[in-house]
Symmetry: C2
Subunit: 431 residues, 2 copies
């Protein structure tokens, strides 16, 4: 009858497959009810969940403590443990996030461009949920509440797969979410939290196009690349952010210094931080020493090209690899370039397509930069740090897409919807 081990493995894999298929079927079924749910019911659910999160504070902290304890035993580093932790402030933040999402306009059902055609029919578009959204994320348990709320408000069902290190926290948040859904008369299956630690669950989730309409991975580049490579379901992905600021020959140098300093130093570990500064050769000698003084105050390590080092003699040399590096740290590579074409060429070669900004008072160059740079956010005289769903007025974001298909840049409620055509007639036929 075969050895015990292979048989055991086979049975376990069958179990995961059945478990995920079951979750997929329930999500697909619940997604129909969510698509029909009116705005009031969805908002009621969100507000109930917010109240329930506040009421469950003690339980959430206790369950989170189990994850933290296990994390310490497993030797997780301090940064990971910090991301994993739920405290009173973070729990209040989750509840506040839910209330903010309840207050946003409902995107579902919006009808646009409804016009008469020569045939006599009216044709327009209606915004509709995508259906079932799979979210795969790592340690932060508050993502469970945030992501569930965005999916719920946009009329979608969600299957959430958080990091195994946060499984008790996520399970406790799921219980609270289910209570809120039930109170509002919405199906609990609309938000399912997968807490099995078996990594095969992710493999199943990303290969069930019959049950899952889109995958949103949130996490490190490695996770996202693996999911993109293996998925048989569309993936809204954000790989990384190698963002550039280009200081043009006709830049206002005060603005240039303020923007280049802010883009690097406002926060280091974020995807919209500048990683490479490009400076036109005509202003390099004037602006680089001023910037170096500012960066020195924050202990930012500078790595320059040969022409940069002719001006800033003490700094390290940038290697070829530096131009493609997402430091997420107080490190900056600097290159002196010969005008706009040279800057755009560098960006097209090395950017991750996230965010780029030009500092210039020259109308034609600003207009060209806006038109020609192929990134999800392109800016004039503003810090790359503004590339953010809240700053853009989306109200909330589930991530930032560096893809071009479906949605690009910060992804809010609208990014979790699609549009179908509607046609209104009065007995109209083609024949």
């Amino acid at each position: 009858m075969g050895g015990a081990h292979p048989t055991g493995m086979r049975i376990e894999m069958m179990d995961i497959k059945q478990y995920m298929t079951g979750a997929g079927e329930k999500a697909r079924h619940a997604s129909r009810a969510m698509a029909r749910a009116d705005t009031g019911a969805k908002n009621t659910a969100l507000l109930h969940i917010a109240d329930a999160i506040m009421a469950a504070q003690t339980v959430l902290i206790a369950e989170n403590a189990r994850d933290l304890e296990q994390g310490k035993q497993d030797g997780l580093d301090a940064a990971l443990l910090d991301r994993l932790e739920l405290n009173a402030e973070r729990i209040a933040g989750m509840a506040e996030g839910l209330r903010q999402i309840a207050a946003l306009p409902d995107p579902v059902g919006e009808i646009s461009d409804l016009n008469y055609r020569p045939s006599g029919i009216q044709v327009g578009k209606m915004r509709v949920p995508l259906g079932v959204i799979g979210i795969i994320y790592e340690s932060r348990p508050n993502v469970t509440a945030d992501a569930a709320a965005l999916c719920l408000k946009s009329g979608n069902a969600a299957i959430l797969r958080g990091g195994s290190e946060a499984r008790h926290s996520n399970q406790a948040i799921a219980t609270v979410i289910h209570a809120g859904l039930e109170k509002a008369g919405l199906p609990q299956d609309a938000v399912q939290v997968i807490t099995t630690t078996d990594r095969a669950a992710v493999g199943e989730l990303i290969t069930m196009p019959q049950f899952v309409d889109v995958i949103v991975p949130r996490g490190g580049k490695g996770l996202i690349e693996r999911i993109s490579a293996e998925a048989r379901v569309p993936v809204i992905k954000h790989l990384h952010g190698v963002c550039h600021v280009y200081i043009d020959g006709e830049a206002d140098l005060d603005k240039a210094v303020a923007i280049a300093f802010d883009a690097k130093c406002h926060r280091y570990g974020v995807c919209n931080a500048m990683e490479t500064l490009l400076v036109d050769v005509s202003v390099a000698a004037a602006v680089l020493p001023r910037l170096a003084t500012e960066y020195a105050k924050e202990n930012v390590e500078l790595r320059g090209c040969a022409r940069t080092r002719d001006i800033l003699s003490g700094i390290n040399a940038a290697s070829d690899e530096d131009w493609d590096e997402e430091y997420l740290a107080p490190v900056l590579s600097i290159r002196v370039v010969d005008g706009l074409d040279s800057a755009i060429s560098h960006i097209h070669q090395h950017s991750s397509g996230h965010t780029e900004s030009i500092v210039s008072e020259n109308y034609t160059r600003a207009r060209r930069f806006l038109a020609e740079v192929d990134s999800s956010s392109v800016m004039v005289n503003a810090s790359t740090r503004f590339a953010d769903g809240f700053e853009y007025g989306l109200g909330a974001e589930i991530g930032i897409s560096t893809d071009k298909i479906h949605v690009r840049g910060p992804v809010g409620l609208e990014g979790l919807t699609s549009q179908k055509y509607i046609v209104l007639g009065d007995g109209h036929t083609r024949g």
Copy 2:
């Protein structure tokens, strides 16, 4: 040194890989120039190509004759040979299509929703090309001109892989397109036609995300399923059309007969033809005999559920498989249902998500049908045959998407674009 055969195969595969990588690199490079190209240059190219197609009529017909001759030798059936044929009328149609696309508004660069945010920055969206579009299609050579024109107008580079049976025709059309691009000062590499008969070329094309941004397959369900399964690039796909008309209990029966007849009989071999008719039980006895009389005039074979056959006693029984069948022929399955919920439930179970229509004078049911049916086109009192880019006013279409991600329903120029965020500031920083 190994047998000659395996080595030979390996070298040939290397060649195809190099060939396609080269095409990809050239397309990526050309896509930058296309994204920058102004509306005038793109329209000039389209009009030059239209003129050149008319001027090349003799050559096109001669090259097409080589394909037709080979097709006859290879035993292609009459329908396939018909699709393959280029004649004076079809050549004039290609040229006219190019002129129509030149006359459409340019979607690229359109700025929308540009508003001030509390921080002082202005945030908006700018419509941009996707980059490089791979089109995979079967026998009809006019797709080469249509698809190239849509990609060109939307600022994209295109790699076109037509059916090997049309390779001489496609090569001749490519030559004409290149002449037109050159005359307008645009790179010839913006439209590349892959004429190798090696099927490995398709495998390469759909797995080069670094060079190709999206794949649009046009052809039978088998081709599209294979491409979707193997692609590592997003695919805008149209699997098939199992479209429904639902005659509600409060339908105007004159409209119902007109729409149900048109939706089936206007054309049979098209994806927006009705394949299944759903009739509410309360009007089945009144409307089905009238419809049967009309269908009999066109020799449409009817296959009914038990309740349908109680009313139309002479017809065949529908099997379980019939409800999922895309006949593309004068065949219709008919099911009597118990009201709107029953109709929607049947549609969600059996529809391919293409187009569904309700015939009803009841406001609430029409409104529910529009909101709840999850298909790319949802209609009230209109024939499913209207689901078409020209009827919808898109001016042209590259296909119909039954996906929800990125674009849904008829895909025109806008479906070949994306939107990036633009931010305008005046030295704005976050810090």
